[in-house]
Structures are given as structure tokens and as C-alpha cells.
């Protein structure tokens, strides 16, 4: 036993001792070099296929595309470089995230990455990006753990679920007056993370968890689960997940006698897709989401979106990805320099440092990165589906 502990101590010391040495070896750190005339490539990863997810992924990509329409090039020391986008489908799974991360880090010419979209993909990808010294900026991965796990590569221009979770718990207890809530997540990093945060806050506010359970993504029959929930007589059902499963849950409540129990979700079910899928059953469903800042600029952007793509944006993530792209390009222009050979050099470490302390006025409000990768601090809004659309609700009281 003593030997064992000794061994562990030695090993621990060894790793701690060697790590700085290893780092010193490579003083410069990894960097990107571009000859004049070469494209500056930015990676993009989102779920571009999959039930109920692809509309979000496409929306996020469109935000990036609009940002690049505004800034098709970056200029460093008066030299212009074209910006190109390498689009990958990172799906909404750890495997998808790892695959895309490995693909990007194996390509030296990728300067930074916009994405990944889903928290589960981002969480699995972050260690890989960390290792390679990359910087990523996500417009939609909201899991609280992403900025509390000491990842060096992860940044986001969307508020953390910690904020959304606290707000949701507050609304559940103080606005809706529910104290026996059934919580369901979809087993994803986003879903479980969000429910974790909410339950902590909710119990602090005096609520009891009637039941906590989860659905499998891709499944369609949740009636047995709803029967279990029904047996606990909840006064609210909270679901952290996405449209496809959310719509089934909302609808199948009627098959088990839970139609009078209010149903609430988060930004994962906010949007017109939910109403398309659940129809009349969705009437009265609650959701929270980060409030997109309202400004003339934003209105103009929304109009431009509709003009360009011919439809209403299915989510607000396009504004977050617009900001994410601008943040990335700002950072590149700020830290890039032209070396003696006339090549553009971007050191990954300085790029990361710059992003983590950046601050500018974005489309979604003030973007101010706090050093952990958290760059957005939008307020959380509370919505209810009324006559087939999400309508923002006034909150009589929130903070006491």
C-alpha cells in the first residue's frame, strides 16, 4: 500500500515537473504562416444534418456567411488576405466533435474555428483543440461546464446555461409557482448540463424534484416515461433538449393525462420549428432563451437575412455566429504580423490571449470576454407560445 502511494506521488511529481520543461522546449508555440496571396482559412463546425438540428446549424453558418460578406478579407500591415471557410458537419455528438476537431488540428493552415455548435461536440473537441493551441468561438454551445473546465481553446459569444439555468429556476419557482417539477433531458452535454444547473438553483429556492429522467435522441415514443412522470403529480414538466424530442413529449402528454401540466424548455426548443412539429399541442409551452439585444442594427440585420436567404431565421444563433466571426477576424488582424520573408504570421497563443480579453460592440450587445472563454452576457428572456408563435412574457418580479 505504501509503495503504491509512493509510486503515485513520484508519477504525479514527474508529470508536474516535466510539463513546464516540455512547454519551454517550444517557446514560440504553434503558429500559422501564410504567404502573400494565400487564403486565410477559418474552420467551421456545426450540425448540418440530423433531426431538428440541421436548421440551427444552417442558421449559424448563415450568420458566418453574412459576416464574411461584410469582411471578405483581413488586412495585416497593409497586406490583404482573402478569408475562406472550411465547413464541416460536427453533428451533435462527442464523436462528431472529435472527428471534426482532429480534422482541423491536423491542418496547419486553419487559423481558428467558429463552432462547434452543440455542447456535447464542443466538450469532446475542446481537449483536442487545447492540445493544438487552437482558438474556437462557438455561437451556440451553452453548457455551463464548457467554461468551468479550464479549456484554453473554448470561447463563446452566447450566454452560458449557468445564466439561463439560474433564470429558468427563478421563473419556475417565482413566476410559475411550480414546486414539484419533473425534469427531463436528452442525455446530451447541453441537456444534462442545463438540468444540473437548474436543479441546483431550483432546490435552493425550495423546489422539490418530482422526478428526473432522460430521453434518447431519435426516439419517438415517450409515453411510458410520461406515465412515470404522471405518477409523481408534477406541477410542471421541464425539458432540456431539442425540437424533435420536445415536440413528441409536448404532444404525448395528451395521451397520458398530463395535458394540463405546463411544459417548459430552453433555447433548444425555442423557434418556429417546434410549432411546425407539435402544431396546436405546442400552445402554451414556455421557453427561455438569451434575449437578442434589440437595436436598429439588429433589425436591419434580420431584414438582410430574410433578403439573402428567403426565409425567417429559424433561431437567433445567426446573430451570435455573426459576432463570433467578427471577433475571430478582429483578433487575427490585431495579432497577425508580417515577418521578414513577407509572410503573415499568426501565433496561436497570442491569438487565444487576444480573444480571451477582447471587447467590442457586437450585434448581440456588448461582447466582453472574461478570460474563461465567456464573451456574452445577454439577459435571459421568458417566452410562451401564443397563437402558434413564441411571445415574450413580462416578468412581474425576478430578483428579490
Amino acid at each position: 500500500m505504501r509503495k503504491m502511494i509512493l509510486l503515485i506521488c513520484v508519477l504525479a511529481l514527474a508529470t508536474v515537473g516535466i510539463a513546464p520543461l516540455a512547454a519551454q522546449d517550444d517557446m514560440m508555440g504553434p503558429s500559422v504562416m501564410l504567404a502573400p496571396g494565400e487564403d486565410l482559412v477559418i474552420g467551421f463546425g456545426a450540425a448540418l444534418t440530423g433531426e431538428g438540428l440541421a436548421p440551427f446549424g444552417i442558421d449559424i453558418r448563415r450568420g458566418v456567411e453574412l459576416a464574411l460578406e461584410d469582411r471578405p478579407t483581413v488586412t495585416v500591415d497593409d497586406v490583404e488576405f482573402n478569408v475562406a471557410l472550411d465547413v464541416q458537419d460536427s453533428m451533435c455528438s462527442p464523436e462528431g466533435g472529435q472527428t471534426v476537431a482532429n480534422r482541423f488540428v491536423s491542418d496547419d493552415s486553419i487559423v481558428g474555428v467558429i463552432g462547434l455548435m452543440c455542447s456535447s461536440a464542443a466538450e469532446a473537441a475542446a481537449p483536442i483543440f487545447d492540445e493544438a493551441g487552437f482558438s474556437t468561438i462557438s455561437a451556440s454551445a451553452t453548457a455551463a461546464s464548457l467554461t468551468t473546465s479550464d479549456f484554453t481553446s473554448f470561447n463563446r459569444t452566447v450566454p452560458t446555461d449557468a445564466a439561463q439555468g439560474l433564470a429558468a429556476a427563478d421563473i419556475i419557482v417565482n413566476v410559475l409557482g411550480a414546486t414539484n417539477v419533473a425534469f427531463i433531458d436528452d442525455g446530451s452535454a447541453y441537456g444534462t448540463g442545463l438540468v444540473d444547473v437548474i436543479i441546483d438553483a431550483y432546490e435552493e429556492l425550495g423546489g422539490t424534484v418530482a422526478i428526473r429522467d432522460a430521453v434518447t435522441v431519435g426516439d419517438t415514443d415517450f409515453r411510458a416515461l410520461l406515465e412515470d412522470i404522471s405518477a409523481t403529480d408534477p406541477d410542471l414538466i421541464y425539458f432540456a433538449g431539442f425540437n424533435a424530442e420536445g415536440a413528441r413529449l409536448i404532444e404525448q402528454r395528451f395521451d397520458v393525462g398530463l395535458e394540463d401540466v405546463p411544459f417548459m424548455g430552453a433555447d433548444g426548443i425555442y423557434g418556429s420549428e417546434l410549432v411546425d412539429l407539435a402544431g396546436d399541442f405546442a400552445e402554451g409551452v414556455y421557453a427561455t432563451r438569451p434575449i437578442p439585444a434589440s437595436s436598429d442594427e439588429l433589425d436591419a440585420f434580420a431584414e438582410r437575412y430574410i433578403e439573402t436567404f428567403g426565409e425567417e431565421p429559424p433561431s437567433a444563433f445567426n446573430t451570435n455566429s455573426y459576432d463570433a466571426t467578427n471577433l475571430m477576424l478582429d483578433a487575427i488582424e490585431a495579432v497577425g504580423y508580417i515577418d521578414d520573408q513577407g509572410d503573415l504570421v499568426i501565433e496561436r497563443e497570442t491569438l487565444s490571449e487576444f480573444i480571451r480579453s477582447a471587447s467590442f460592440d457586437g450585434l448581440t450587445g456588448v461582447i466582453e470576454c472574461d478570460g474563461t472563454g465567456e464573451c456574452s452576457s445577454a439577459d435571459i428572456g421568458f417566452y410562451q407560445i401564443t397563437d402558434g408563435a413564441f411571445v415574450q412574457q413580462e416578468l412581474e418580479m425576478m430578483e428579490e
Partner: protein, 397 residues
């Protein structure tokens, strides 16, 4: 095919343990009865006896008869659909000793094609005016769609590989499955499509009339979409008549299949081909044609099941075939792959198990897939032949 249970001393040579020995009961129907008794005994214990030891005065137990009854019925409905799909696996396995992993996509194709049919019916108002007929037509179209996909699959992917080592068509089947998913994804996009919500009222006047806005309305009951609170064994439970419609239609289709296989000349030819292709061809049976017919039958059931599924769960996507597909495959193996009543009972059993077991065992519902595949493992260890006892491994190819 059911009579094969009494042939062969399956499993008697190597019995690893005495525990769970009831899983070895030779006769399939005795086995089913025993399993049901064990389940009911356990549920009775959990609901009636266990709470007496820990429940406080006036506290209501989480798990009670109403939950059990509801979940049982929900499980039967889900299981009926598994059974319809499982029959496709089992028919093809029975005749080609090959697992058609693209069968879930045959199911998906039926749901999609049915969607376009029912959508057209809704747009034209036909669905409103002739609901029952429109649903039947939708089923017909979906069945045809599934059948066409299955014929193409057999023709393009499997027939050229007949006689190749067994792993080859298996890999091809997985490839075909992905190809079909991607094809439908590219054609129709990844956003789910939803079937309309349909009401089909029957029994007007039998359940009394209500005065509404001055006129008397005799609604009857809605067979498809509405659900009702009823008393079953003195327990108030919420029932959607469609649960029973699914069960009934599935049983009807399965009986028709059974009749076809047992009584018709083509059905007998199918069984002959399943047993010995060369000898069957010496009787003048067209083996290729019989194999195609087998694929068509499986696909027809999957197509009909797809419409039931889509009227029930409403949501249709290119990936919808995956989960029901693997569940149905599991059901087919539980029942004894290659065996027709086995697929039927396996499907119903799996549906009920998935629905009832997690709650009855005090587990979160999240674990229902674990329960399903756990059952598969238990069977693989203790009753590798499945409920109806055909031996998986000792098959001539």
C-alpha cells in the same frame, strides 16, 4: 413453423447455470406463460406488498396499478409495430440466412411515401370527407413504396451476392441502409415531417349525446387521435383507442401473413425454398421469384407498420428507421430468428418489456434501451434459440 419447438434437444447439452432455469422451458407457449406469471408476480409484489414496509401513512406509492396498466397497453402498441417490422427480418433470415439491416429503411421509406399520400389527401380535402378510405389508401401507397424499395434492394444489393460468404451481404446491407438514409435526407431534407392529426369517429350515439350551442352533438369516439379516461380493473387510466387499433391491425396483418405462409401455394413454396433451394427448384419452384416475394411480404408489413407508427407518433425523418429497426431485430432474435410466431411474440414482448420493466424495477425510463438489449443478452446466454427455439448457429447457408 411453430412446431419446430419440439424438434431438437436445444440447449440441453451445455447448461451453464441452474439459475433462471425457467428460461429453458422447451415449449414456447409454456415459456411465454411462465414469463408472464413471473412478471405479474413481481409487479404484484412491487405494488401490493413492498409499499407496506416503507410507505408512510397517507403517502401514495409512485408505482401503482394504473401506471402498470397504462404502460402495459402502451407497450403492446409499440410492440405491435416492432412485431410488424421484426417479421421482415425473420422472413428474409428464414429464406436467405441473412440479416437485412436495411429493413429499418424500408420502414422509413413507407412512412415517407405515406406522408406524401396523406398530405395530398389533406390538401384536397379528401382526408376530411372520406377519412377511413383516405387512411386505407395511404396505407396502400406506403405499402407499395416499401415494397418497391425492398424489390430494388434485393435486386441491386443482395441478389448479385447470393452465395458469397455470409459477411459480405451483411456489410452490403449496412451500406444499403446508410445509402437509403442519405438518399431520403438529400431528397426531402432533415427537418421532420409531421403527419396530420386525424380524427375518425365511430359509434356515434353509442356514448350519449351532448348539447353544444343549442344543437345535439353525438360525437362517438375518435379512434385515432383522442384519448379518453376509462376504468380498467377499477383503475382510472388514460386510453387512446388508437393503442388498440394498432394492436388489432397488426394482429390482423400477422394472421393474414400466417394464413398466406401456411395455406397458399406460394407460402408453401416459400417454406420449401427456405429449407432447400436446390430441391425446391427441382419441384419447379422459381427460387429467385420466391425470394423476391419474401422481401415483398416483409416490406408490405413494414410499410403498413410505418403508417400506423406515423399516425401514432406523427414524426417522420430519414433516420426514423434506425431505432425501430434495431429494436425489431432484437425482437426477432428474442422470438427466435427465422420463426414467424417468434417475431410476433418477440415484438410484443419487447415492446411491453421496454415500457413496463424500467418502472417495475424502479429504474429511470432512460434505461429502457438498456433493458431491451439486456434482455437480448440474457436470452443469448440462457435461451440462445429465442422463444420459439430455432438454433441460430447451425443453419445451412
Amino acid at each position: 413453423m411453430q412446431e419446430t419447438t419440439d424438434s431438437g434437444p436445444s440447449g440441453s447439452k451445455s447448461r451453464p447455470k441452474r439459475a433462471l432455469s425457467f428460461l429453458r422451458v422447451q415449449n414456447a407457449y409454456a415459456f411465454i406463460g411462465l414469463v408472464l406469471i413471473v412478471i405479474f408476480a413481481w409487479v404484484f409484489f412491487v405494488i401490493e406488498i413492498e409499499p407496506q414496509f416503507y410507505l408512510q401513512e397517507g403517502e401514495r406509492a409512485r408505482y401503482a396499478w394504473d401506471t402498470f396498466i397504462s404502460q402495459f397497453i402502451i407497450g403492446l402498441a409499440q410492440g405491435s409495430i416492432y412485431a410488424l417490422i421484426a417479421l421482415g427480418y425473420t422472413l428474409v433470415y428464414g429464406i436467405l440466412f441473412m440479416i437485412n439491416f436495411a429493413h429499418g429503411e424500408v420502414f422509413m421509406a413507407g412512412a415517407y411515401i405515406g406522408f406524401f399520400a396523406i398530405n395530398a389527401a389533406e390538401q384536397s380535402g379528401f382526408l376530411e370527407s372520406q377519412t377511413a378510405l383516405a387512411i386505407l389508401l395511404t396505407m396502400g401507397v406506403a405499402v407499395m413504396g416499401s415494397v418497391i424499395v425492398a424489390i430494388l434492394l434485393e435486386r441491386i444489393a443482395y441478389r448479385p451476392l447470393r452465395g458469397a460468404p455470409r459477411l459480405v451481404p451483411l456489410i452490403t446491407a449496412i451500406g444499403a441502409s446508410i445509402t437509403l438514409q442519405q438518399l431520403f435526407l438529400r431528397l426531402f431534407g432533415s427537418s421532420p415531417r409531421t403527419y396530420p392529426r386525424i380524427s375518425l369517429f365511430v359509434g356515434q350515439g353509442m356514448w350519449g349525446c351532448e348539447p353544444v350551442d343549442g344543437t345535439t352533438v353525438c360525437e362517438g369516439i375518435d379512434l385515432i387521435s383522442k384519448s379518453y379516461d376509462v376504468l380498467i380493473f377499477n383503475q382510472e387510466v388514460r386510453i387512446r383507442p388508437f393503442f388498440f387499433v394498432i394492436l388489432f391491425v397488426s394482429l390482423l396483418l400477422m394472421s393474414a401473413l400466417w394464413f398466406f405462409i401456411q395455406r397458399t401455394k406460394t407460402g408453401k413454396a416459400m417454406r420449401a425454398v427456405a429449407e432447400d433451394k436446390d430441391t425446391a427448384s427441382l419441384m419447379g419452384i422459381n427460387v429467385d421469384r420466391t425470394i423476391v416475394i419474401t422481401f415483398m411480404l416483409g416490406a408490405a408489413l413494414a410499410g403498413a407498420g410505418a403508417v400506423l407508427f406515423a399516425l401514432y407518433n406523427r414524426q417522420v425523418t430519414p433516420f426514423m428507421g434506425f431505432i425501430p429497426g434495431i429494436k425489431a431485430f432484437t425482437a426477432a432474435v428474442l422470438g427466435g430468428i427465422g420463426n414467424v410466431p417468434g417475431a410476433m411474440f418477440g415484438g410484443l414482448f419487447l415492446g411491453v418489456a421496454e415500457s413496463v420493466f424500467p418502472s417495475a424495477l424502479g429504474l429511470p425510463n432512460q434505461l429502457k434501451d438498456v433493458v431491451a438489449f439486456g434482455l437480448l443478452i440474457v436470452f443469448m446466454i440462457f435461451r440462445p434459440t429465442g422463444i420459439f427455439g430455432e438454433v441460430l448457429s447451425e443453419k445451412k447457408a
